[in-house]
């Protein structure tokens, strides 16, 4: 009987350790943002060029993450990319003239959407579209423009 008790204790410890390890993986290693997915609201924004933006890229206001990109599609009628933003329900006080821009964190970092609240009276609600957008900066375009300007300067 004593033998079985030790056995039971050891097996119990094993199961607790295993579940604790799963818990660590869930809480410490992965983001639990997916839990709050249901009680958010969505916004859409059209961009000419989204650069390297990906699904699950962050949406920030003043550097604070307020949502994530949930879906990226292409609107073939307007020739623009349609980005759906999944916003945290905690942050739902954005005026309807809020603008969205795609920025890069660091020189080679990942791209994110930064919202800039405007001064309008009405608020953005679930499903509304952000009218004012600024596309991603494409490095090649920038370099091309710079070289073009240099060449133009040289001709003068």
């Amino acid at each position: 009987m004593k033998q079985t008790k030790t056995t039971e204790l050891l097996v119990g410890i094993f199961i607790v350790a295993g579940v604790a390890a799963l818990f660590v993986l869930a809480m410490k290693v992965s983001n639990l943002s997916s839990f709050s997915k249901t009680d958010g609201y969505t916004l859409t924004a059209n961009f000419e060029n989204i650069g390297g933006l990906k699904v699950r890229s962050p949406v920030t206001v003043g550097g604070v993450r307020v949502g994530r990109v949930s879906h990226i599609d292409y609107d073939s009628a307007r020739y623009e990319a349609v980005v759906t933003l999944e916003m945290d329900s905690k942050y739902d006080q954005f005026p309807d003239d809020t603008s969205a821009s795609i920025f890069t964190s660091g020189l080679l970092g990942e791209q994110y959407i930064a919202l800039e609240p405007g001064g309008g009276e009405d608020l953005l609600t679930d499903g509304s579209e952000i009218e004012m957008t600024q596309s991603a900066l494409v490095l090649e375009k920038l370099v091309g423009k710079f070289l073009f300007n240099k060449a133009a300067e040289g001709e003068e």
Binding site: F14, A17, G18, A21, L22, K28, V29, S30, N31, P58
Partner: protein
């Protein structure tokens, strides 16, 4: 020449016969699981020998795998000035791949071979026939608890491997190589997804647990009841488990993470 082709045919027949036997066997084992739940002490004794006694091996291996990953990952990432991403590299490769796969391989070597040898020796010494004479179904009494213990232990062991491995990476990355503590964890948390990565890793380890335990108990039950037969079955358990785990890992990875 004709003889050779005939032998090939016989090999094919043997193969499919064995495959069929193993399928009938697993069905009988699954049917025996309710009777195990009525006698949980059988299961607990097996959880001890299959799970608890593998714990130290799994934890130590996980620690070293995590530490090596951090060292190697750092060497590459530092060239791009991206050593803060070390946490992501270590966590993703362990949670998605190395955790389930290495645990399954170690599990096959540590627990699977022991199961096969034990059951095979029981068959060779006619203990299984003895049970049948006493109207005790050896599948209910011997096989099902061992199979169930293997299936239950694998996900727990893989989770322990992953957690210990990530902390191993953390000790080397932050303690030894001087990666920033905060960005190690925060980058990891922003890139590792609970559903996409952690759950899929758990599903993988569960599948591997079923496959390795199945191979182990079947090889033991199906052994040629001699010393040589038991030794061959034990070897086959480890070899087949390794093949099955690595092959299935590719299939599962393609199914889970294949769409991007």
């Amino acid at each position: 020449m004709l003889e050779w082709i005939r032998q090939l045919g016989r090999g094919g027949f043997d193969f499919f016969e064995k495959l069929g036997r193993s399928n009938l066997f697993i069905l009988k084992t699954l049917a025996g699981i309710p009777s195990v739940l009525r006698r949980p002490y059988l299961l607990i004794a097996q959880l001890l020998s299959v799970g608890v006694l593998s714990l130290l091996l799994i934890a130590v291996s996980g620690l070293f795998v995590g530490m090596v990953l951090a060292l190697q990952g750092y060497n590459t990432l530092v060239d791009f000035g991206a050593e803060e991403s070390l946490g992501v590299v270590v966590a993703l490769s362990i949670v998605r791949e190395l955790g389930p796969v290495v645990t399954a391989l170690l599990f096959a070597g540590r627990a699977g071979s022991a199961l096969t040898a034990e059951i095979g020796l029981m068959k060779a010494t006619e203990q299984l026939s003895g049970m049948e004479m006493m109207a005790v179904d050896p599948i209910h009494r011997v096989i099902a608890p061992r199979f169930l213990a293997g299936v239950l232990s694998m996900p727990l062991l893989a989770a322990i491997f992953s957690a210990v491995g990530i902390y191993g990476g953390y000790f080397v990355g932050v303690g030894l190589l001087g990666v920033d503590d905060g960005s190690f964890w925060s980058q990891m948390q922003s890139k590792v997804d609970l559903h996409e990565d952690v759950y899929n890793g758990v599903i993988k380890s569960l599948v591997f647990g079923v496959v390795v335990s199945w191979i182990a108990v079947f090889e033991g039950y199906d052994t040629v009841p001699t010393s040589e037969g038991v030794s061959r079955s034990t070897t086959r358990t480890v070899v087949y488990s390794a093949f099955a785990v690595l092959g299935l890992d590719f299939v599962l990875t393609a199914l889970m993470f294949g769409d991007y």
